[in-house]
Structures are given as structure tokens and as C-alpha cells.
Symmetry: D2
Subunit: 284 residues, 4 copies
């Protein structure tokens, strides 16, 4: 009925099991997105390579410079950040660098690392409205309502529990403005971000300034990255700080270090001391 | 005896519990290694920032360019690499990007990601000998003996199961030679790497060329990174490929994808089918 | 204004930072949920301890027996399951047992390990309707509609891509029926599960039998566990298989084993080989 | 030349790629170590299943009871333990249960979770000496010397930073003695443990009592588990506490919780504030 043997059919199925457009590896040949690796090494920057791998083609130098600014800005926020604390505690448990990094990166999810992603979704929602001809202010108001319905009243990317003004925002916005002036990006998302900042400030009666997440989200959106990738790029950046802290902690040499010194007890709020019932529970 | 209360003593101990020289975060102020973040954004490259965070000061442009070449070279080796395969399988299980990346980065340990680290230790051992006046060839022979005693006969960083010649090696060595010619690095480690390559080739009677791990190890050693950090830098690089593959797999949309199609059964090599003994094991 | 010093206030805040009702640890004293550990060791079974830790009190022997059946049933589904394959690949990369287990457990999320959780949510939705007096069939039909609206047409816990009849289902349902007959559980959730099975079978015109996830979900729901905990208990069970496979793979000794042998290439579906543009991209 | 086609050869190689003696899965049939799963469910306990999966055959009831005591004893040590703290911090970052558990289990390595493994290696080293006819005291002294040469002066499994007497030790030793009296185990390892305790106490001039790691190590060794598996069994036990704490933290609802409240700053010990050199570092 068929001239192809079962084995050939199975091999064919297996060969299609993993399929990628990212890399072609043959004996003696490696190409990413079509470009031979030997042409890329020494000629493209690391941010250009990140773009090439995740987007499929090379960015312009201006696009790469904007991405680079975002990658530089987010590397670290200190030992009070859970991701950094986890990396350091892991190191005191004898974890190797890759393991300490994995435990830490693993928590850069929807809450810790996802503010930027949610912010990109907000920008995109507003942009769909302005693209359809809606007024910027009206589009922002509608976007904020839609956001609050899903994520609650705190708008990821605006305001900061710690910084009255986030020192990373101004230089990032300056990079965006520069790129927009040079025609490298459209500049419409950063306008949306500033309008959101204005609306939130008016509502609260005090400044709710764009923070690092809101600023990098604007960059990633201007550059055409999908919201999901906002988190991915943040992880590449924060991994640098996680690595540096894990390594520093290893060199400090402490063993099995909990979150706080034992002189500060945690609070036990459970049942008072009690005894097992007299009957042996195992017996039935 | 002391005018400091218990509470003050405990707070003092707690404040010293986490100590870092990497980052200073105060309300409205962030500085890495002393440099205000607002000065770094837009002015240092991402590889310079990686250097600053892990080393404590800024590299020269030539040093940064060499580090960048190594970071670009190692991003990916395709879906047959366990780290990449794990990221893709994780994505089919519904893992989010950070989780897929964590599961994958977690395996970049002593074997998968550690060849470069071991290679750096070999280079360092040889270099200690040549620095003490020993002849290069003699130092390499002694170094290889010491290495084999610990890690066995396969020398990490030389030869490749897949590539007769690793296409990443030549452009990386060219970058090293260029930096050495410009006086940015000493160039003595790359000389050691080439001598090891020569010795191994003579011993085997066929070329055992420097591979990606051996070449990046030479770069990291020339730049003064500790062997342990070789693995850390490799992780930063390979994370890019892991991210790209996890994201691509998510877009392909398969669910719960095992390593091979089910048309290829695994081999069961255990006990033949048997029955439990008649007595109820739970009863005693 | 206050007679409490700043330091005392800070210590108080720190002592309330971590609060738990699970365990009380004092020098020389450990109690879980109020029971001294020295009374628990040797007197409660491991499943009873799992129940105590996650629920706050001890189960009856019948409840513990039912939980134990579910824990036994889910330990493993072989090397084609991504979680098991990941553990084995991790082992070939030199990962230690805890690291191999972590990479694997990490993917037991919404898709791979979450079918049971979604199934518990479906049971609960139907049960809210029957508790409000709705007819079982009507409640099931409404519940299935609600489920499909969120999760799509495939009902987690019913049918199996691999097993025409899941051999784990019958003995699990027998345990449930036995416990219901003994008055240990209400038995209403298993009735819902059987009605769903009947409806799905009628709709498809072929049996869509309850599978392992549907059966253990019925057990966990009958025992009063929250849906989220269904996944947690599954993880405790599957961890056993993950451990066994990681350890077996370590003993087999292979190094850096990808998902398939290299004789089966993956498919590259991307850009054909191309060259970088002539201008040096780094120069601007 | 050969009557087997290339495709058949490749399929054969692929079928041998993953090989296991643990589980046989066929459509409609699942057997662990030869036993059909439908015979195991409801008839073996969870500790018996753990033994079966990791050892290949069923334990006696007495062996299972001893293993169960060890599994019950190690489930938790409170929020000051890094593994528990990591699980709780992960939960505040929005990690799901499997992800929070993975980040935590990942750090149960050589230091945090490995004391028992090292202790088992010490017991085994002493036992090889007594088996060769050496006097118990002499064998212990030699074993301690060998241990200290590798791991330093702190003997894993003896003494405790927190508990003057570990309350878990006595009931575990009682279980061992009971099993030895019943002929279920040889009882020679627990004698070694007690002799080590005596020697350490004499050396230090104060009690250095067997702790939880030393007691469970004695159990695992008496039961014939390899030292590496000591860590694996500990992970299965501690996973219960990790799960309970992750879930409790989720219910408490805090977001992005660091190790300590921000009212306790960490210590910055690095470079004072400084400015970038005037030249643009990007320009060369």
C-alpha cells in the first residue's frame, strides 16, 4: 500500500518532533537565524545578538542602543528583592552558581518580574484605541479601567514603594526621546506612558511617576517586542545582578543562612502544644 | 555595663546580616559599585555592566569587546543540547518563561556548563608553572597530567563530539590575538591553549582542536575572571538561547511533549510482570 | 509620645514578618500544628503527616488510607513524561539529586500537573449546583459548559492519549467506594465524576473514561482539599518517580544526553544561510 | 552488506536511548518494578512505594516502618531554614506551588540537605573497618580523621546550632533499637553512631549529641540505602514542609516580600559614590 517502511515513517516523525527557526547546527557549521556564527562573533553586540535570537533579524544600531539601555537599567535592586535574597541564601546552602541563579530566576514571574509585562499589555490596549482614532486621554482612561478590572487598582509600572522618584526612569525616557527624534522608533508608546502618569497623578492628587518597569515596558513596546518577551528581557538583565550577588555571597562564606538572624524569632500563630490521642493511629 | 539596649543590639545584628559591595539602594538613589545608575544607563554597554557588576570596576573598551565576543558566541547549540530541550519541554508543560528558563539554567552545572570552568583551572595551573619559570611545553604536560588525575582523560575545551572543527573557535581566537596585539591583555593564556591543542593532537595523531569552551575559557582567563565565573558568564550567554527556544516552543503550541514521539518506545529492562505476595503488606 | 524605642518597634515588626501556624521551633522543642515531634515519630504514618502539615489536624485512618492510595498511584508515568525526561537529562548534565528533582518538579504546572486541579474545580462547580438543589445531570452539563468556556473542550481528568482504560482508575474508585461505604467520606464527588464520564461518553459516542487525574481529583475533593492543593499532593507523589529516575540515570552514567540520539536530526525551518551586511554594525 | 535498513538501525538506537528498570508503560498497562499498578494501589503504603521505586523490591513491614519514621521526622524546621524561607518568598512573588517548591528543593544540596549524606559516608567508612575486624573505637577514630580531612572539623549529623538536644533523635533511635531487636536490621550502624557521639563528647568535654541528620542517616544506612539516596529521601520528606509553607504564604497574601522588613536596611560595604569618567565608554 505504501512503499515507505514503518521505520522510515517513524524516523520522519521523530525528525519533525523538534523544529526550530532559531539555529541550524550541522557538523562544522552553526548559523543563527541564517547568519553563520563566525560572522556574528566580534561583529554584533550582545544586545544585537539578543535581538537576533528572539526576533529573527538584526536591529538597527539605534534600536540596539535602546534595548541596551533597558538591559543595563534592570540588573539589580539589592538584597531586599526576593530574587536577590534567594540567590544569596541558595549560595549559603552550597548551591553552585547555576543552581543559585535558577532558584532566583524561577521567581521572576507574574508578580516580581511581571509588572513590565502587564504594563506592556496596558500600553498595547491603549494603543489599539488611539490607532482606531480615539483621543489619547479617552483611550488611557478606558485602558486603565480595563486593566483595573483584571489586575486590580495597582498599575504595574507606575509609582514605587521605595523610590519617591525612580532614578532609572529619566535616563530611560531620555533614550526613548532621542531614538524617537532620530526616527528609530515611533514614540507613540512613550506618549501613552506619560499620559497614564498624568492621569494617575491627577486621580491621586500626588505624583505616581513612571518607574523602571513602566519605562522599560515603553522601550520594549516601542521596539515591537510582545508583552510576554518583556519579562524574558527583564530576566536576562536581572540575571546579571543575581549572578553577582550569588558569587559575592559564596565569597563571604556563610553557611545555611536564613532570611534573618535567629535573634529575631518568627511568629508562631498556630495551635498551642497538645498531645496525640491515646489510640495508636497506625493500627487500623 | 552597656548603654545599648537588647533591641538596638538585635537591630544592629540584623542590619549586618546581609552585606554587599555591589549595590547601594536608598530612597530615590541607586548606585552600582559606586556609580549612580542614571550615569550608567545609556553610557555603558551591557557587557560593560556585566563586568562592572561582577568585577567591581569598569573594563577598558578592548576588554569589553573581548567579553562581548564570548557572550555572543555561546548563546545556543540547538535542541539536541539538554538545556535547550528542557526549556522547550517545560514550555509544553505550561511553564512560564521564567520557569522554563530556570529549569534549563539549573542543568548548566559541572558537566554541561562546566567544561569551560575546568578548562580555566587547567590554564591557571599551567600558568602558575610558566610564571615560576617552567618551559611552556613542560608546564602543559604537567598540567594535563594533573587535570587527568582529577577529571579523567577527556580535556574540557578541546575536541568536539559533533564539530570536526568548531566554527566558533577561529573568530574568538582572532579577537584574542587582536586584543593582545593592542596590549589590552597579556596573551599568555591563549598561548597555553594553543600548546595544549598541539600536545593533544600529537598524542592522538589527529587534531583535537580548541572548541568553544576552550576559546571562551581563554578569553575569561585573559580578562582575569576566576574559573567559577567562567560558568557564570556562560550562563548569561546561554540564557539568551534558552529564552528564544522557550518562547518559540510556546508559540508552536504543543502540549506535554516528551523527548521523542511515542512511536519510539523507551526500553524497559526491569523485572518481568509479577504479583504482590498474597499477604496484605499493610497489616503488620 | 511613645515609650517604645525605635529599635523595639523595628524588632517587633521583624518578628511579625514571617508568621506561621505550621511549626513552632524553640531550642530543644519542635511541634507541628501543636503536636510535639517526638510524639509524631513512629506513631503517625507519612500520609497522616502530610495531612497534618497541610490541613492542620490529623485525618481519620480511613481518610489517611484514601490519601495514601492517591499518593501511591501517581508516582511515575515513565521516561516519555516530560518531568521524568527532564530529571534524567539533568542527571546526565551532572546535576545532583536535588537539582535534577527541582528542574523536573518545576514543570508540574498548569498543564502537566494541573489537570487534577482543574478537574477539582470542575467537581466543585458541579457540587455547588447540586448542593443548591440542582439535578445531577443538569449540574454536570452546566459545569462542563463553564469549564469549556475557560479551558477549552478537553476535560482534564477524563480520557487518556495513551491508555484506552487507565489501569489506575478502577482501584482508586474502589478505595473511594469503600471509604464512602464506611462513612469516611460523603461520596458525592465520585458520583459527579461518574456522571461526567457518562455525559462525555454519550457526547463522543465512545468511552471517555475517568483517568488518574480525574480519580485522584475525586479523592482529594472528597477529602476536602482545595483544588490548588491537588497539584501540591500530586507533586509529592510524582517526586518519588522523579527521584528514582534521576538516580537510575546517574548510575547509567551517560554524559550530556539530549532528548534523542543525534542520528535523528531536529528540523531547521528558519532562514537560509545568509551574510551580515557589509557595514560593521558596531560602528554607530 | 546489511539487511537492516538505515531507518531501522536509527529506530533501534532511538529505542535504546532511554532505558529504565523502574516502570513499564504500555497502552492500558502500567507496572512498577514488575508489579501492576492496580495491585499496588490500596495495598502498599506510600513509604513501601518509595522503597519499591528506589530499591527495586518491597521492604518488610518493619523496614517500611523504620523508613516511615525518618520520613515523618524531617518534614520541616521552620521559616528560618533557607529552604522554607525561599518557598515562602517565592509564593509572595506569584510563583505557583510547583515553582515555589522547585526553587526551595533546589537548595537542598551539599550543605543544607547533604549533612545526612556525609554522615552516611562516615558510617560506611567506619563499618568497612569494623567489618575487617577493627575495634569499634579505633575504627571510629580513624573514620573521624578521614572525614575531617575532607569536610573539615564539623561532623555532619552531630550537635546542633539551635537544639541543645534534638528532640527528634530519641524517638528515631528508639525505632532503630526496636527494629534491631526484632531482627529487621543489623543494628551495627546505630552502634557506630553512638560511639561517634561518645568520642565527640569526650573530645569537646560536652555532649555533641546525635541530631536529626545523624539519626536518619543511621536509619537509611541500616536499611541499606546508598549515601546519595539519603539526600533523596530527605528531599521527599522536606518537600512536605515546603509545600505546607508555600501554601500558607499564598493564603497570607503578601506581595514581593523580601527576607526582612525594609525598616532593617542591609549593609552596603562597597565603593563610595563616584562618577563615570568623562569620555563616553561606548565610543571606541
Amino acid at each position: 500500500m505504501t512503499d515507505m517502511s514503518d521505520a522510515e515513517r517513524i524516523v520522519g516523525e521523530a525528525e519533525r518532533w523538534w523544529t526550530t527557526s532559531i539555529i541550524d547546527v550541522q557538523p562544522g557549521r552553526i548559523a543563527m537565524r541564517g547568519y553563520p556564527i563566525e560572522e556574528l562573533i566580534g561583529r554584533v553586540t550582545f544586545p544585537q545578538m539578543i535581538w537576533l535570537m528572539t526576533r529573527g533579524d538584526l536591529p538597527t544600531p539605534g534600536q540596539a542602543r535602546l534595548l541596551e539601555g533597558a538591559l543595563v537599567a534592570s540588573v539589580d535592586h539589592g538584597p531586599h528583592a526576593p530574587s536577590i535574597a534567594i540567590a544569596r541564601m541558595a549560595a549559603t546552602c552550597g548551591a553552585e552558581l547555576n543552581n543559585a541563579m535558577a532558584s532566583a530566576i524561577n521567581v521572576l514571574g507574574g508578580v516580581h518580574g511581571g509588572a513590565g509585562q502587564q504594563c506592556m499589555e496596558l500600553y498595547a490596549a491603549v494603543r489599539r484605541r488611539t490607532a482606531a482614532g480615539e483621543d489619547l486621554r479617552a483611550a488611557v482612561l478606558a485602558g486603565l479601567d480595563g486593566y483595573a478590572a483584571i489586575h486590580g487598582p495597582i498599575i504595574g509600572g507606575f509609582g514605587h514603594r521605595w523610590h519617591p522618584v525612580d532614578p532609572r526612569t529619566a535616563p530611560l525616557l531620555a533614550l526613548i526621546d532621542e531614538a524617537a527624534a532620530a526616527g528609530e522608533i515611533a514614540g507613540d508608546t512613550v506618549a501613552i506612558a506619560r499620559e497614564i502618569e498624568a492621569v494617575l497623578g491627577e486621580r491621586k492628587g500626588k505624583p505616581i511617576p513612571i518607574n523602571i518597569d513602566g519605562a522599560t515596558a515603553a522601550i520594549f513596546a516601542e521596539l515591537g517586542f510582545a508583552p510576554e518577551m518583556g519579562r524574558g528581557l527583564f530576566i536576562l538583565s536581572r540575571s546579571v545582578g543575581i549572578l553577582a550577588h550569588a558569587r559575592e555571597q559564596m565569597e563571604q562564606g556563610a553557611r545555611i543562612k536564613g532570611p534573618m538572624p535567629k535573634s529575631i524569632p518568627y511568629t508562631y500563630a498556630g495551635e498551642p502544644r497538645r498531645s496525640l490521642p491515646a489510640d495508636d493511629r497506625r493500627s487500623s
